[in-house]
Structure formats: C-alpha cells, structure tokens
C-alpha cells in the first residue's frame, strides 16, 4: 500500500473546560492523498475544525491530543516540537480560516503579512520576499497588486482578504492546505470566485486540500470525496454522488434533507412527524384580503445617503400585504440591511416615505419611534442570536422586556403567562426561561430572539439573515417555525438573506437588490427559475448545488 500524504489514525482530542475534560474528537481515522481535495463536513461541535487544528498543531492551549497519530509524510505531527514544528507550519502544511478579515493583522500592511510567511521559511532578502509577495498577489488575482501591497485589511473586502489569506497559505508551496470554512460569511458570488480560485491553485500546484465546511452543497461541488462528521466521529465517507443519492447513516440523511436545494420545500427540511403538526394549521389558510383594503406596508421611493459618498439605497419602493412573505436578496453592500433597518425605523431614511396601515411613519425620527403606537407592530429579528441578546438578561427578561415597555404589562402573573405563551409558540422549553444566553444553544438563542420579536404580536416581522449563524438542521427548524408563525398569526415577513435557496422556499415574492437599487422582483420561484437580469442569474448560478455534476467536473 502506498503511503498517503496525510493519514490520521484514531485521533482523540480533548479540551479541558470548567466542567472537566470534554472530548471533541473521538477516534477519527482519515487519509488524504497528494493533490486531492477532501471535504470534511459537519455541523458546529462535530469536531471537524478541531481535527483540522490538531493537524496543523494550532489547537488552543486548552486542547490536547489524547490518543492517536497524525502522520504527515510518515512523520507523526503530534510529536513534533520547536523548530521541527515551525518548519512544518506554513511551509509544508498551511491553513486558511473562517472570517478572513479577523484572520489578518489589522495594523500591518498585507504585503508585509505575506512577506512574513516567506521570510520565516526562506533565507532571502526582504526585497526578494517583497517581490515574491507581489507575485503571490497576482496569483490570487488581486487587481492593482502594487498598490494593494501597502493596503490594510480594513481597506479590502472580505473576498479580497480571503485571497490574501490564500496568498499567505500558498507562499511556501505547501503539500497540504487545510481550509476551515473559507467562504462562510462571504456572498455567494464571492464564495464561488474564491472557491474556484482555490481549486485552480490547488490543481495547478498539486496541493492536497482539506475543505472543512458545514455546507454540503459546497463540498459536493469541489470535492471528489466527502467525510461527514458528527459528535467527533466520521460517520460516513463517500463520493458526493453516493452521499446525496444514497446516504447510509441516519445523520447524513438528516443533514442532506435539511440542506435547502433549488427544489426543496419547507416541509422537506424536517421529518414527517414534525410536519404533521405544521400541516394541521396550513389547512385553515387565511382568506384573500378584501379588495380595496390598503396594503400593510407601502414603501415609496425610499433613499438613504450616509454622510459622504453615494446613496446606500436609492428609489426603493415596495408594498406588502398582511401575512405575506417577501425576500430581500443581494450581495453585501447592496443595501438590503439598510433598507430593512429603515423599514424597521431603526435608522432614518434620507428621502421617501414608509406607510404602515395607511399611516405615514417614515417621518417619525427613529429615536422617537419607540413611542409610536406602531413600534409593537413592526419588530425585528437580528442576524446573530449570540450578539443580539443581552448577556445579562435571562431568556425570560429578553421576552418580557418588550411586553413591559410596549404592551404596558407589569411584572406579575399576566406577564408570566404572556412570556410562557411566546416561548411555547416558538417551541422554547419553559424550563430554559431562567437561563442566560451563554447557557443556551444557537438554535435556542434564535428562538429567544424570535419569541422576543413576536411577544407584542407584531403585524410585520423584519428578519435580517436570521439563520446565517445557525447549522442547517437548526436552520430547517427555525424556517419551519417562521413559516408556521406567518400562517397562524398572519404576520408578514420581510426576509433579508443572501441564501437564495432559503428565500425561494420561504418567500412568496423576492426583490433583488444591487448597489442600493432594485434589479428585479417577482414571484420567488419564477424569478429564480427564469431570472431576467444577468445579475440575478449570476446570483442563482453561484449557489452550490448537489446536482451540479458539470460544475464539479470543471472545478477539478
């Protein structure tokens, strides 16, 4: 048997925490051949990143390899010390990370950061290293590389930062590159460009790559072999085709089902019995709105200009009926978040008007809007449930606060009842109410955020990427919950997202934004199936799908 480039044998990694030792990786065995791209897929906490960090020896000080071997070119990486280790890191084996902007030193010019890596491993002059860094910037297709050498990370976009990271990682021609969620948080179109670039570079340089991701579609598009991890173990290892066509392990089946695709419906994402409960409500669908009633929300020629520069949003108009769901999609910088915040009355529009139930609310200053009677009718669910909950408020406080401020309830039995009712509606177990955010899981926090938003029985819920920080299986449940709330309580949803598959499922209509203006809008399925503009087509095509056999071939 020929020796693999990397072979991990029965790896165990433990972390010491306040509650004792926690085993994050429990017996992973994996082999990577020279030049191949392997996908390592799993949800948060599955141990996929820890496996990657153990391989590059970048584990936190709390983490320790307790058993097993990591053989890289026949040498056990776990036993390397000092200089031997440093000769490996960044030279023979390198790594790129999630959140590229945070992974670059904010106060060091990117050219120097690339040169750092070169100078650590090669005995060459600073000028020669600088010249090499420039070549690398060209290799990762950064425009105006000479000028960008002196740029700082905050002056570059997320996609550009990730290219710089790639340049650093390939600077010493490693034999193995470990990419840990390299495109999470980037736009779909940027994701495609960065991943294509990475795949091309890996192929051209014969570099083996481990792609660690939570996105099955992404792994399927770029890898020939995918290993699925759950609870620190590899549960299934197969080609994308077998994995999606005939998943064997129960977890893989669930993961495949929960990953939204171009054709999936909300009911496909969750198991049959969960859907039963849901379906009962669907049947009592609301009657169509009587002719002539004013729309719930009407936005007329909304514009927002920040202090300097061009308009973030210009000439944005839309209407929404009660109980309708509308998706707002576009790349970062397209103005979708700004628009949603104006509609929520969290920021003031520069021009235009917002009419809610026939009343103009666009001219109420955002800082006074909390006194408006419409504040409780328009509520928002924020992107990151970890960041948007006050760490010193219990789940109960979070949900009770708007009830006390906006619905005028006093602490007492009625408040308790209302909070418990909200928790029940979002499926949050009541015994979790006294807990603080850090004691809740990501999905539970998302539920608290939604419970808070629906506490005052709003008519319009604005959701800014509510599932972006969640695992696909949790996302499936949250999406189902939102859809149920809409049907049961007739809440209109304005859903801001970059995930087109999710928007297609959840929203009746979709509005595509670019550079602050509407590019295209229409009924969701029709819009995605037959995009009328190149921009929408580009967005749709950039979504990684399992079915994309041809795309896979071109990438390899």
């Amino acid at each position: 048997m020929s020796q693999s480039l990397l072979s991990i044998e029965d790896l165990h990694v433990s972390f010491s925490t306040r509650r004792g030792m926690v085993e994050a990786v429990r017996g992973v065995t994996l082999a990577v051949e020279a030049g191949e791209m392997l996908g390592l897929v799993g949800e948060s906490g599955s141990g996929k990143s820890v496996t990657g960090f153990a391989t590059t020896r970048l584990l936190d000080t709390a983490g320790r390899v307790t058993a097993g071997k990591i053989l890289f070119r026949g040498q056990d990486v776990t036993k390397l010390r000092g200089d031997d280790l440093r000769q490996l890191q960044g030279a023979a084996m390198s790594m790129i990370f999630q959140n590229p902007r945070a992974a670059l030193n904010p106060i060091r010019a990117i050219g120097l950061q690339i040169a750092d890596a070169i100078l650590t491993h090669k005995r060459i002059s600073k000028d020669a290293a600088r010249a090499e860094a420039l070549d690398l910037l060209r290799a990762v297709q950064i425009r105006d590389p000479e000028q960008r050498m002196n740029a700082y990370p905050h002056e570059l976009s997320g996609g550009m930062c990730q290219r710089v990271m790639i340049a650093i990682a390939i600077s010493c021609n490693p034999a193995l590159l470990i990419a840990d969620e390299p495109t999470t948080g980037l736009d779909v179109t940027t994701q495609k460009v960065v991943m294509d670039l990475l795949a091309d570079i890996a192929a051209a340089r014969g570099m083996a790559t481990i792609l660690i991701t939570h996105d099955l579609g992404l792994a399927a598009r770029y890898c020939r072999r995918i290993a699925v991890m759950e609870h620190g173990r590899i549960v299934e290892e197969a080609s994308p085709k077998t994995l999606f066509g005939a998943p064997r392990h129960a977890y893989t089946k669930r993961l495949v089902a929960a990953s939204p695709t171009a054709t999936s419906r909300i009911e496909d994402l969750v198991t049959a019995e969960e859907w039963e409960r849901h379906a009962a409500v669907v049947s009592n669908a609301r009657p169509p709105a009587a002719h002539g009633t004013p729309p719930l929300l009407e936005v007329r020629k909304l514009a927002k200009r920040f202090d300097q520069g061009s308009a973030a949003v210009a000439d944005f108009s839309m209407t929404m009926a009660g109980g309708e769901s509308v998706g707002l999609v576009g790349e970062s910088g397209s103005g979708k978040s700004t628009t949603s915040r104006m509609i929520c009355r969290l920021i003031d529009p520069s021009e235009g008007d917002i009419v809610f139930e026939g009343q103009s609310i666009g001219h109420v200053a955002s800082r006074d809007f909390h006194r408006s009677r419409f504040r409780k009718d328009i509520q928002m669910v924020f992107q990151d449930p970890n960041e948007s909950l006050n760490p010193r408020f219990t789940a109960f406080d979070c949900i009770a606060h708007p009830l006390m401020r906006l619905a005028g309830l006093r602490a007492g039995k009625e408040l308790w009842q209302r909070v418990e009712e909200c928790a029940e509606r979002v499926g949050l177990p009541l015994d979790l109410l006294p807990r603080f955010p850090h004691q809740l899981s990501g999905g539970q926090k998302a539920r608290v955020g939604i419970a808070r938003a629906i506490a005052c029985r709003p008519r319009l819920l604005v959701l800014d990427e509510p599932t972006a920080a969640l695992d696909v299986s949790v996302q499936a449940v949250v999406l189902q919950l939102l859809d149920r709330l809409r049907r049961e309580n007739d809440i209109a949803l304005l859903f801001v997202s970059h995930d087109l598959n999710v928007v297609r499922m959840l929203c009746d209509r979709t509005i595509v934004l670019r550079n602050g203006g509407i590019v295209e809008q229409g009924e969701s399925r029709a819009l995605f199936d037959n995009p009328k503009t190149d921009y929408t087509r580009k967005l749709v095509e950039a979504i990684p799908h399992f079915e994309s056999g041809p795309a896979m071939a071109t990438a390899l």
Binding site: R86, Q89, F97, I107, R108, D116
Partner: protein
C-alpha cells in the same frame, strides 16, 4: 495630519480657558477675604490693605480675571508675594529637576513594565505570571514615600551606592545627574510600573486570542515575532492611553517624591507656595501642569494614528 494637529490645538483653547478661569478662581473659592488669606494670621490691617491694593483685589472679579489673562498671554505669570520674584522665573528655575525626574521615570516605567506585561500575558497562569502580578499588587499598595525612604535607607545609607538626596543638573555630567535620579524614579515609578504592567498583560491577553495571532502561528512565525511584531503593536492603543493618563499620576507623585529626596523641583515649589499661600505661584504651577496635560493628550492622539492605520481624523 498637520491640519488635524492644528485643529486639535485650536480645540484646546476653550479647555485652557476653563482651566484658567478655575485656577484664577482658586483664590476666591477659598473662604474669607482673599487679601486677608494672603496676608496671613499676623498681618496688620495696613498690610492687608496694601496687599489688596497691590494685587488689585479691590477691582471687580471679571476685570481682574481679564487683566490676569492678558498678562499671561504676554508671558507674565505675576510676581510671587513671598519672594517678589517673577513667577515665570521661579518656575523656570525648578522646571529642570522635575522634568528630569518625570522623563527618567517614564522611560524606566516603559522599559520595565511593558516587557513584564508581555511576559506575564505570554506565560499566563504560570508561576512567572503570578510572580509578576503579585509584584504589581505590591507596587500598587505601597505609598511613594514608603518606597522612597526604604530605597534611600538600603541603597544610599547602608550600601552607599547612590547619594541619599539632592539634585545635580545635567550640565554637570550625565552620571552625576542620573545618580541622583535613580532612586526617586524607582520610588515614583512603582505604582506606575504596576499599573502599566497590568494593562499590558490584560490587553496582550486579549490580542493573543485574536484570529490573526492564530494566522501568525499558522505561518510558522516564532514566539518573539508573534509577541512583538503582531501582538504588542495591536495592544499599543490602550497601553499608550494609560501611559498618558499616568502622567497626571506622575505629577502628583512628583510632589511627594521631591520632598522625600530633597529635589529642588516644581513639587517642592508647589508645597512651599501652598504653605506660604503664595497664590500667584500656585496659579502659575497649576496652569503649567494643566497645559502639559493637555499637550500630552494631544501627543497620545497623534501616537494613535501612527500605531493604528484604522484611526483617521
């Protein structure tokens, strides 16, 4: 950048004006007739009247303030009631020793405290870290005069390595000048070293958690490169802020230190002036210290822009 500095200097004018108003009002905030206060307990009514006339205290407050500001703008800080010398001359004579003491203390502090903090953060939780932080608590807790007397006793009286007290100007040689400043600087710097070591450790710990430090490790960079090239510069903004705030601390400490080591500096002058109720001198010194403090703050803001390219004014 230059326009920013100019704007900042213009912006300090109102601050200085308020400080000036406050400094001038000192005399009136103190209870009783200013002339009686200045003249002291043994003064005859004639003396009091003479002082009142001499200082123009019989005129309305605002006019007095106006003419005082006018004179200051022309470089005239007034005349000492006690020595009859111009206040600016008296301050000028005492500036050298205090400035020397503060600069040496500042250098000593930075050279000692920052590396201690970096090492403590690097070895967080280890014996070295605990020893350094223990020392920091110790440094915090000891009053300047206790440290001063103990140092003087051990190193000057018992070991006779350094002079006990006094001051030699720099013009008489570097070593004689330094000799007299070493012990006072250590005494004065103790609290300051403790403070900055702690801040350095805390900020470094935070920076070392950042993703870009992990990137630096992934590149194969050595520990030194990570700590000093990637981490310390990122930690610099809070550290520089505290060093700046600490200069106010130094000014207070200098008064005590100069008394302990008999250094003829501004601290001593301040105490003497307060004891003699020499209001023009007190006013001059307070004004000078405020001015220095405003200037230091401006310098800190300029240093921010040099350290962190994201900060733009």
């Amino acid at each position: 950048m230059l326009s920013y500095i100019l704007r900042r200097i213009v912006a300090t004018l109102p601050v200085m004006a308020i400080v000036a108003l406050f400094v001038f009002s000192l005399l009136y905030i103190a209870p009783g007739d200013p002339a009686v206060v200045i003249a002291g307990d043994q003064a005859s009514p004639e003396d009091v009247e003479r002082i009142r006339q001499g200082l123009g205290l019989d005129r309305p407050f605002l006019i007095q303030f106006g003419s005082w500001v006018w004179r200051i703008l022309h470089g005239d800080l007034g005349t000492s009631i006690f020595t009859n010398l111009p206040v600016s001359t008296m301050i000028g004579q005492r500036l050298g020793p205090t400035l020397s003491l503060m600069i040496i203390t500042l250098l000593l502090t930075i050279v000692i405290a920052v590396p201690l903090g970096v090492v403590a953060a690097w070895k967080a939780g280890s014996l070295i870290d605990r020893a350094i932080m223990g020392f920091a608590v110790f440094g915090f807790s000891l009053p300047v005069f206790v440290v001063g007397y103990v140092l003087a006793y051990v190193f000057a009286l018992e070991l006779e390595w350094l002079p006990v007290q006094g001051y030699t100007p720099l013009t008489e040689g570097l070593w004689p000048w330094l000799q007299n400043l070493i012990l006072p600087s250590i005494a004065l710097g103790c609290v300051y070293i403790a403070l900055i070591a702690r801040i350095t450790r805390a900020t470094m710990l935070e920076v070392l958690q950042q993703d870009y430090i992990r990137t630096a490790r992934a590149k194969g960079l050595g520990q030194g490169g990570i700590l000093f090239i990637h981490a310390l510069k990122n930690a610099a903004v809070p550290i520089v802020t505290v060093i700046g705030i600490g200069i106010a601390l130094l000014i207070g400490g200098a008064v005590v230190t100069e008394s302990v080591f008999a250094i003829p500096g501004l601290g001593r002058l301040t105490i003497d002036a307060i004891l003699r109720r020499d209001y023009p001198v007190i006013q001059g010194i307070v004004l000078l210290f405020s001015f220095v403090y405003v200037l230091v703050n401006l310098m800190i803001d300029v240093i921010y822009t040099l350290v962190d390219p994201r900060i733009r004014y």
